[in-house]
Symmetry: C2
Subunit: 448 residues, 2 copies
C-alpha cells in the first residue's frame, strides 16, 4: 500500500494547508438509515425532523415513547430500561482481569488528577461585608455512551469520574442496547468502576430526550455529556437550554512537532495512532527536519501494514494528513497555534522550552515519553478535548464542567453608606429609578 499524504514547505504554505474549512459537511444519511426512519415514521424525513419527532414524543409521552423507539431502533422490547447494579458487578467479574486492572488504574489516575482541580467556595470579608462565590456541584448528570464500535469505556471513565469528583449527586449512564445483547460488558464494567449511580439501556435521540425532560423511569438531569451519532448530536442541540450540554465533538486531531532529535519510529507510530481512529481524523506533522519529512511516510507504511486498521489509516492520512517542513521551531509553533489542535505533541530536544509559546491546544504532550495514546488512557487528565479549532476558546472536560458558581452578596451597614450613594447615581443614569429607590429607602432607614 502507498500513502499519499500532503506535503508542504515553509511557513506560508504550511499555514495555508492547515487553514480550517469550517465544520465538516454533514454526510448524507446511509440508505438503510433513511429506510428505517421512513418505516418508523411513515414518510421520508430529514435527520432534524426525525429528532424533532422523537424528542417531542418522549417529552409528551415519556416511557411509552422511549419503549416504542427502543423497539424500533434497537430491536429490543423491554419493560424495564434500567440495568441493576448487580448486572454491572457481574459484568465486572466477567471481563478479562487484566482489562479490569487497566480500567481501574485509569479511573484511579483520572480521579486523583481531577481531585487537584476541584474548586472550593470562597469569600472575602471587609468593612463592606462578605462577597464571594458558592461552588455547587450539579445535582444530576447524564452521560451518553454510544454503541457499536464507538462504545468506548475509556470515554465513560473520562467523563463520569470528573463528575463524581465534582460532587455530582447522581450520575446516570444511557447506552443503546442491541437486541438481546443489552449493553456490552465492558461498558457496564466501566460504569461500576466509575461508581456511577444508574445505567439505562436507552440509546439515540430518545435517550437524550428522556434525560432532558425526564420520564416515569428516567429522572431529569441538569447536564448531558458524551459523544454520539448524528441523531444524538442533533437531539443534544435540540434540548440545549432545558439542560446544559457539552460541546459536540468533531473528528479527532493530533499535530506532532518534531526536530532532528526526534525518533522517526515513534513519530510515525504516533501519527498512525491518530489516523487509525477514522477516515475523518487528522494526523499532522510539523518538522524542522528534512530527513524526518522525507523518511516518515516510508516508516508509516512499514508500520501500518502490521495493523488491522490499515485501510482506515491510509484513508485518513490521504484525506487529512499533512507533513509540513518549516525553517524553525518558532514557525512550527506558529502553525500549531493557528491550527489549535486537540492534541499537540512535542517530540523535540527541549520540549519544555516550547510550552510557554503554546496558546491553542486541548493538550500538550511534552517529549517522546508522552505519546498521545497515554493521554487517551492512563495519564490522568480527561481525554475529552476540544476539536475543530475550538481549543482557541474551549477546555478539555474537567471538574468545572460539573460545578457551578452562585455569587454571594452580604453587604454590611457600612456598605449601604459607602456604596449606596454611587449606586443611586448609576441606577438613575440608566433610567432605573426603582433600583435607586430601593437603595435610598435603605439609606434613609440607616439615617433615621
Amino acid at each position: 500500500m502507498t500513502i499519499n499524504i500532503k506535503r508542504t514547505n515553509g511557513l506560508a504554505e504550511s499555514l495555508a494547508a492547515l487553514t480550517r474549512k469550517g465544520a465538516p459537511k454533514e454526510a448524507a444519511l446511509p440508505p438503510h438509515v433513511v429506510a428505517r426512519n421512513t418505516e418508523i415514521f411513515g414518510e421520508v424525513l430529514t435527520a432534524h425532523q426525525v429528532v424533532e419527532r422523537i424528542v417531542e414524543d418522549v417529552r409528551a409521552n415519556g416511557d411509552v415513547a422511549v419503549r416504542k423507539y427502543t423497539k424500533a431502533y434497537d430491536g429490543r422490547d423491554v419493560a424495564e430500561f434500567e440495568i441493576p447494579r448487580s448486572e454491572w458487578d457481574a459484568a465486572l467479574q466477567r471481563i478479562d482481569p487484566n482489562l479490569r486492572a487497566a480500567l481501574e488504574l485509569t479511573a484511579a489516575r483520572v480521579r486523583s488528577f481531577h481531585e487537584k482541580q476541584k474548586r472550593e467556595s470562597w469569600f472575602n470579608a471587609d468593612e463592606n461585608g462578605i462577597f464571594g462565590q458558592v461552588i455547587r456541584p450539579l445535582e444530576r448528570v447524564g452521560i451518553y455512551t454510544p454503541g457499536g464500535s464507538a462504545a468506548l469505556p475509556s470515554s465513560l471513565l473520562m467523563t463520569a469520574v470528573p463528575a463524581r469528583v465534582a460532587g455530582v449527586e447522581e450520575i446516570i449512564i444511557a447506552a443503546p442496547p442491541r437486541g438481546d445483547e443489552s449493553v456490552p460488558d465492558i461498558i457496564l464494567a466501566a460504569a461500576a468502576i466509575a461508581n456511577v449511580d444508574r445505567v439505562f439501556a436507552i440509546g439515540g435521540a430518545q435517550a437524550i430526550a428522556a434525560l432532558a425532560y425526564g420520564t416515569e423511569s428516567v429522572p431529569q438531569v441538569d447536564k448531558i455529556c458524551g459523544p454520539g451519532n448524528l441523531f444524538v448530536a442533533l437531539a443534544k442541540q435540540r434540548v440545549n437550554g432545558v439542560v446544559a450540554i457539552d460541546a459536540v465533538a468533531g473528528p479527532t486531531e493530533t499535530l506532532v512537532i518534531a526536530d532532528d532529535s526526534a525518533n522517526i519510529e515513534l513519530v510515525a507510530a504516533d501519527l498512525i495512532a491518530q489516523a487509525e481512529h477514522d477516515a475523518v481524523a487528522s494526523a499532522i506533522l510539523i518538522t524542522t527536519s528534512p530527513s524526518i519529512a522525507d523518511g516518515v511516510v516510508a516508516e508509516i507504511e512499514a508500520q501500518a501494514t502490521l495493523l488491522p486498521r490499515l485501510e482506515v489509516i491510509t484513508a485518513s492520512l490521504d484525506a487529512n494528513g499533512v507533513i509540513a517542513l518549516v525553517d524553525s521551531l518558532d514557525d512550527a509553533i506558529t502553525c500549531g497555534n493557528a491550527y489549535a489542535p486537540e492534541h499537540m505533541c512535542l517530540e523535540v530536544a527541549d520540549a519544555w522550552s516550547l510550552v510557554p509559546q503554546i496558546r491553542n491546544a486541548g493538550g500538550i504532550f511534552v517529549g517522546e515519553n508522552s505519546p498521545e495514546a497515554m493521554g487517551d488512557y492512563s495519564a490522568g487528565p480527561s481525554h475529552v478535548m476540544p476539536t475543530m479549532g475550538t481549543a482557541r476558546f474551549s477546555s478539555p472536560a474537567n471538574v468545572n464542567d460539573y460545578q457551578k458558581i452562585i455569587s454571594l452578596f452580604a453587604a454590611s451597614d457600612t456598605a449601604v453608606q459607602n456604596l449606596g450613594p454611587s449606586t443611586v447615581t448609576f441606577a438613575q443614569a440608566e433610567g432605573l429609578d426603582g433600583h435607586a429607590a430601593s437603595i435610598q429607602r435603605r439609606l434613609k432607614a440607616k439615617k433615621d
Copy 2:
C-alpha cells in the same frame, strides 16, 4: 392604579405557580421592523433569514457589507467604524463627574472581586512525571453593547472588567451607532474606565458577523459576549462554534424570601426594582408571613406611583408576579431551588442559616442590607447571571469565562514502564492497535 398579582397558598400551589413554561415565545416582529427588512432585502424574510443573509454577506464581503447594513439599519454612512480612544476620553470628560465616580467605583470593585477568582496554571510532579493544567486567557474577546434604552454601561463593565482581569489581550466593544449621534457618551466613558482596547460603532447581526469572521477593519475574536436584540441573539447562535458565545440572556428575575422580621417597605421596593426592568421581568415573593403577603401589594402600589416606570412595573407584576404564602422557610427554599432564579434575596431574621440549603440561584443576596440593586452596580460580582432556570447548571459571568485550560502531559521514563502495559491492554480492548503499538514501541525502546 391597581396591581393584580397572582397569590398562592402553601407549598404545592406555590410550586405549581413557579413551574417554568419553557423559553418565552418569540413575539412577532413589529411592523416597522418587517417593513425595513423588506425594503433592505427586497422580499419578506423571517428574522432567521435576515440574520442568515447578513452573516453570510459580512463573511463574504467584509467591510463593504458592514458599511451597507450600518447605513441601512443605523442611518449612518461612515468610512471608519472604529471610534478612537481620544473620543472615549472626551466622553469621559463630558459626563457628570458624580456618574463618572460611580462608574469608577463599580469598575474598581468588580476588578478587585474578580482578581480573587482568577485561576493559575498548576501541575503535580511525581515519579510518573508532570501532569497539570496550563491556564491561558482567550486572546481576543468581543463585547456587544446594545443601543437605545438597553444601552447599559453597567453591563459593559460587568463583562469587560472580568475579561481584563482574566488577561485577555484585546477586548473589543461593538455598539450600534445612531445617525449622527454615534455611540452614547456613557458607553464610551464606560469603555474608557473598563480599559478596553478598541470600540467599533457597529450594531446588530452585522457586528456579530464582523467579530466572528473578521473584516478588513474588525479583527476576528475568540468569544462574543453581551446582550442584544433578537437579531443579535440569532446571529450569536449562528456563529456559535466559529467563536464561543455566552448564554442568551432571558428576562430578569428576582425571588425574595421574607419572614415576619422582614421590612415590608424594603421587600416592596425590591420587588418594584425587579419589575421595573420590562414587562417580561419576574418579581416573586415567597413569605412565611401572612401580614406581609396581605400587605405588600398596597405597599407596592403606594411606592410605585412615585416612579416614572409605573406602567412597566404594573404590567410586569400582573403578568409574572407571584406572592406565595408558605408554612416554613424550608418550604420557601424548596420553592426557590425549584424555580432557580437569577437573584434570590433572603430578607429573613437569620439569612445566613438558609445559605447552605440554596442549590440553584445566580446570586444569593443575604439580608436586607443586600438589595439586588446593589448587586447590579457596586457590589463586585458580575450582574450578568443565569436566567430562565439555567441557574440549575450555569454560573454568573466570571473570570473563567475568559480563560481556558490546556492539559499538560509530561510522562517520565518510569511512567512508560508503570502505565504503558495497562495502556496497551486498554487500547487493544477498544480495537485501537495503533495506539497500543505506539506504547509498545516505547516500552521496547526502554528495554533495548
